[in-house]
């Protein structure tokens, strides 16, 4: 670039509006798709906010996702760097290790396989709605609906006893909280790994009809790798959809015409899910990649060793890609958003997440046509302090 480079910025975390990315990100994107960013370890790397720049970096094999190469974008995240490299934790592996692990898993998460789970997910959803109805309003939608549904589903899929959910949910909350100390993060990860390792040992002796038993049966992974991969799928499998279900419902409650449209016309569900994914972009920080050699991205040279933080939220609001990007429109064609990432690490469980939402939102809205917030907006605690954005609690009545 011949133009003077702007001063490095730091990554903003607080969202001025509950459903919009931090405002600075959009302003910076207008100035250019990539700009220098100061990392928590004083590294001066980059921040990408433009849709095509974000996709270009995520699709480029010259960028690494290995923990040891990444500079921490915010200070709290620096603590996570202290965690030892986890075998099997494939989100932090580059090819060819990543390819080997992912190939063993993708067959389990195809569109067809996930659709076969629909009746079961419908039943789980109906059971949660029955329970809410029995217990009566007000209810915390996170606790009663948004969190249990994906937790129950991923537990069944992996073969993890749901009865242990308090333990693994407590650990995953600690892992995702930006306020956890390094010690707390270490302990939570160790506890979760201990728990899953125990499960792997039991399944090796007595295999079940589940994904972890299936991975053991391939004979191509060590128990340590299976545990690492399973911890990743367990955390990713419930925290993300849970936050989309709760935050998405809150968004719809604030857009009553679109809520009514989705409730009354089931054929809108697929498009509504894509649009809520795009509009809300709950991945709150990163992902981050580091260049392994000098790479040119849209006229910017990212030198070997420099990190780039990809703002998925800013990319999903890029007017060059989406018309009126700051408007929620559940009838738009939002496919192509980067909420599940892009490139070889794009979310493994995305087809499962889509089905859980496509079943979950309409079922909730039809069961409780009078659904409403049971607390003033200013008392809804937003998850600005978590790696995955959403609401901590959502009190609702009907």
């Amino acid at each position: 670039m011949t133009n003077a480079m702007p001063e490095p910025v730091t990554l903003p975390l607080s969202r001025e509006e509950p459903f919009d990315p931090p405002g600075d990100l959009g302003r910076w994107r207008e100035e250019g798709p990539i700009r220098p960013m100061l990392y928590a370890d004083d590294h001066v790397g980059w921040l990408a906010t433009g849709y095509s720049a974000v996709r270009a970096v995520l699709a480029d094999p010259r960028f690494s996702t290995e923990t040891t190469r990444l500079h921490p974008p915010i200070s709290q995240r620096a603590r996570l760097q202290a965690l030892a490299k986890l075998p099997g934790f494939f989100i932090r592996e580059d090819p060819p290790e990543h390819t080997r692990l992912r190939r063993l898993l993708t067959g389990q998460f195809t569109v067809r396989r996930m659709r076969q789970l629909e009746p079961r997910i419908e039943k789980i959803t109906a059971d949660r709605l029955d329970a809410m109805e029995r217990e009566g309003a007000p209810a915390d939608l996170v606790r009663e609906f948004a969190l249990p549904i994906p937790s129950l589903v991923i537990c069944e899929l992996l073969g993890v006893p749901y009865g242990d959910h308090e333990r693994f949910q407590r650990d995953s909350t600690t892992l995702l909280s930006l306020e956890s100390s390094i010690e707390q993060v270490r302990e939570a990860m160790e506890d979760l790994l201990d728990y899953i390792r125990g499960l792997v040992v039991r399944k090796r002796a007595e295999p079940g009809d589940d994904l972890i038993s299936g991975l053991i049966a391939t004979g191509r992974l060590t128990d340590v790798e299976i545990a690492g991969a399973s911890v990743l799928m367990l955390i990713a499998g419930h925290e993300t959809t849970a936050n989309m279900l709760a935050l998405g419902t809150y968004t719809l409650l604030k857009n009553p015409a679109q809520l009514a449209a989705l409730r009354d016309d089931p054929s809108l569900a697929d498009a509504a899910v894509e649009e809520l994914l795009r509009y809300l972009t709950i991945v709150h920080i990163g992902p981050v990649r580091t260049a392994m050699e000098d790479v040119e991205i849209e006229g910017y040279t990212i030198r070997a060793g420099e990190s780039v933080t990809l703002s998925l939220g800013a990319a999903n609001r890029d007017p060059e890609r989406f018309d009126s990007p700051d408007t929620l429109d559940i009838t738009r064609q939002a496919t192509g958003h980067v909420s599940f990432g892009h490139g070889v690490h794009q979310c493994l469980g995305q087809q499962l997440a889509r089905i859980e939402m496509r079943i979950g939102y309409p079922a909730l809205l039809r069961r409780f046509p009078g659904l409403r917030l049971a607390t003033p907006d200013e008392e809804v605690a937003m998850r600005s302090n978590m790696a995955i954005y959403g609401v901590h609690r959502l009190p609702v009545a009907w």
Partner: protein, 63 residues
Amino acid sequence: MRIKADTDVCIGAGMCVLTAADVFDQSEEDGTVVVLLPEPPADKEGAVRRAVQVCPSGALSIS
């Protein structure tokens, strides 16, 4: 239009199946792309172009 799919590059995300279900499928074993209609009819070409565009791994191309 002729579709080319590289199953070595494919990561089995399923975006093509989601976008053009009559044209693409995924293998039962490893989830990689199976092209059902390598020369899709004209009325599917728009969906196929979208599928190529949203593919996360760049496994699809058209000529």
